[in-house]
Subunit: 440 residues, 2 copies
């Protein structure tokens, strides 16, 4: 039995221990080995296309039998186009500048005593992701690029596809010089529970999935968690706003992919933005969106023949994940900002305005990872941001915020190099700090 198959049989604890050991070796590998490993994984995936396709067929059959809906089936499907895309992604990662070892700053603390800050891997990353097999390759690739060991737990619907992809990735990686244990595949729900307690070996958890699931992870582990539990995004139509632009952007933000975390849930409108709100509401109605509004929104829309149910406090806290939108009329920009900071999930919020001062105030005061002007919230995504890929989107403010790509998977260390330097010399005034900035 091949090594890579065995990993499927180890428990989370043993895999995490192995991954931690591997992480020390990974951190010291020349960048070229990681680059070659990425190319080797791409090649292995292409070589094993038939095997992967058969595994995916098996998952798809079971999913159809279980009555999975069309969008979920589409995400689960791993066809030739998806294989091509993930391989292109791996090759793009291989060509990127090596993030590990990049010097971020350099200071001469005193004569002959030089401090350098250098990017390094975080260590062991645990990623729990939905039933989308392409995510396994993307996440695995990002971790190889950044020198992190990774534990991968995908959705159970994708079990056979994930196994086939993982086996190809693992075997090719090890053959290209990555240490045994650099990646591990977890397959059961029990594995997830066990992971939460492995804070000695896992440095970071990135859970993707429902809000309740992510909150559960955050509440039940000492391991730092990066991610978002909710995506309650807003658009605010300011007093000075072109009506056609508002309609166009609001419809895209709501309907382009309503189940996404960056879809808009609540539309705020200044009381003087009547025309823009009417245009947006009519366009939403035409796009099949169910509208809910506060009393002022209803008073504006209903007489114009636009159906609008009553919204209440609960609506402001709801991520509909579908074609429903709540609307609230506000008296001022300040009231809109206060609403967003109170009810939002600090993910992505936008202002639609021609007024530069209002846009600047919105950007400074809205406490969200993304603050947008005159564009759809749906742009909040690592690929669209030009990061190549993302492991997730963080709504926390510690470490990485927003879409998390290569930079968010790196930490740094301080390297201090001297010639027998001691603190006592400085404490006694025999030597003095110079703190000369040499870089950064």
């Amino acid at each position: 039995m091949s090594k890579e198959m065995e990993t499927g049989k180890m428990g989370a604890r043993a895999l995490a221990r192995r991954a931690k050991e591997a992480s020390f070796a990974l951190a010291a590998l020349p960048g070229d080995v990681r680059r070659r490993a990425l190319k080797a994984v791409a090649k292995a995936l292409k070589d094993r296309e038939q095997e992967i396709k058969a595994a995916n067929e098996r998952d798809l059959e079971a999913a159809r039998r279980d009555g999975l809906q069309a969008p979920a089936l589409k995400r689960l499907q791993f066809d030739a186009a998806k294989l091509r895309d993930v391989c292109l992604g791996l090759e793009a990662l291989a060509e990127m500048e090596d993030p590990v070892g990049r010097e971020q700053m350099r200071t001469e603390l005193a004569e002959g005593l030089v401090l350098s800050r250098v990017a390094c891997p975080i260590g062991v990353i645990g990623v729990i992701f939905e039933s989308r097999p392409d995510a396994l390759v993307q996440i695995g690739g990002l971790c190889i690029r950044t020198g992190n060991a990774v534990l991968l737990k995908g959705g159970r619907e994708a079990l056979f596809t994930n196994r086939a992809l993982f086996d190809a990735l693992y075997a090719a990686g090890v053959q290209a010089g990555l240490p045994e244990g650099f990646a591990g595949l977890l397959t059961t729900r029990e594995d997830v529970g066990e992971m939460l307690g492995l804070d000695a070996d896992i440095d970071l958890l990135i859970p993707r999935g429902s809000g309740a699931f992510v909150r559960y992870i955050m509440d039940n582990s000492r391991i730092p968690v990066l991610g978002h539990s909710d995506g309650i995004c807003h658009l605010y139509i300011d007093a000075a706003c072109d009506a056609q632009m508002a309609a166009r952007v609001v419809v895209d933000a709501k309907t382009q992919y309503p189940a996404a975390c960056n879809a808009v849930e609540t539309l705020l409108a200044h009381r003087d933005a009547r025309d823009a709100l009417l245009a947006a509401a009519a366009a939403l109605r035409d796009a099949g969106v169910r509208l809910k509004g506060d009393a002022r929104a209803q008073a504006l829309l209903v007489p114009e023949g636009i159906a609008c149910e009553a919204a209440d406090e609960e609506d402001w806290k709801t991520e509909y994940l579908g074609n429903v939108l709540s609307i609230r009329v506000v008296d001022s920009l300040e009231e809109a900002i206060a609403h967003i900071n109170r009810y939002g999930s600090h993910h992505t919020d936008g202002i639609l305005t021609d007024d530069d001062a209002a846009a600047a105030c919105f950007a400074a005061r809205v406490d969200s990872a993304g603050v947008y002007r005159n564009c759809s919230t749906r742009f909040a995504d690592g690929y669209r941001y030009g990061f190549g890929a993302e492991v997730g989107i963080s709504t926390g403010k510690i470490h990485a915020r927003g879409p998390v790509g290569i930079e968010g998977l790196c930490s740094y260390k301080y390297i201090l190099t001297g010639h027998g330097d001691i603190v006592e010399d400085f404490a006694k005034g025999r030597r003095a700090f110079t703190h000369t900035k040499l870089r950064g």
Copy 2:
């Protein structure tokens, strides 16, 4: 009763709520207001020197009555020299480049659609610190500089001094234009317990103090925690190492301030570094350090007349916080690295060597915030690193690592500016991403 006095009477929950509200206003303040506030605080402290001195006398009297030891009394004392130092520190912070609003990257995602990443405050920081009143001013100053609201809880021995310092800082800050509630003083143990549950309003906790205390905080709050629970630092004497240099650096790292987290606890020595180990051990003995060693260390030292008790597994996990040091002889650099990664606290660890390859391997493989060569571990400190001040030292790898200064108190946000751009145009192939890097 003045506003600033009232804050001393509010509970943690109310103070945190106020601080959160203030944080939104703080984030949008012009940098010049923060600069003026720092200068105003320095002036207020000098103006209130007599009042502060009287408060400190009261704390010192009580501490002497309670039998506090000399080093603790020295930390508690807030004399004219300390007042001068903290005021110089505030003025230096005032002159620093404003970190808030600094653009970190800028990318044109597509024609007319520009993404910018800009540094911003984290929000509300809760800092729990020891009975060292100068820390209150340093932490308060760092938070003003970075636009963060702050909740300050100092050691109870410094209660009256902290109140006097806080009142001066708060009144001067508000008068200079900072929003009401930008800082809050907590005074009771119950306040700390209450803080742990305020994850809706507090964005980051920075506890300083004993390992057990910091671990308790980490285990009992959903709020992200920055800090370190232990400081088990190592020095490793490599085979190729000058004996006099080793003796000099080891003595400094152990004795310059043995209670500090960056003092060395375990000395590792290559089996071929006999002369350097003997020189270091003799110097340690002469400096009054009690030595504990494994069998090989004892076999080397005892025949040379250097007393060395037996060390066991527990010693490798112990932060002595005093003049005790454990010694272990290893067969290789790899064994030293494995020992450090296994027993260390990922704080600061050094290698003493003339061998560049060994130093490079040590720097890459040791998983610590600071990896040093040929210098004392005692340099791990924000002031010595040239950060002006520090709020603490982090041994975590998420967000800031090592001494945390201004940069670690900042987050960032993505600002996306368009002209009605929608994702559907890209999904349908009507437009294409350019991802042109404009900056960073």
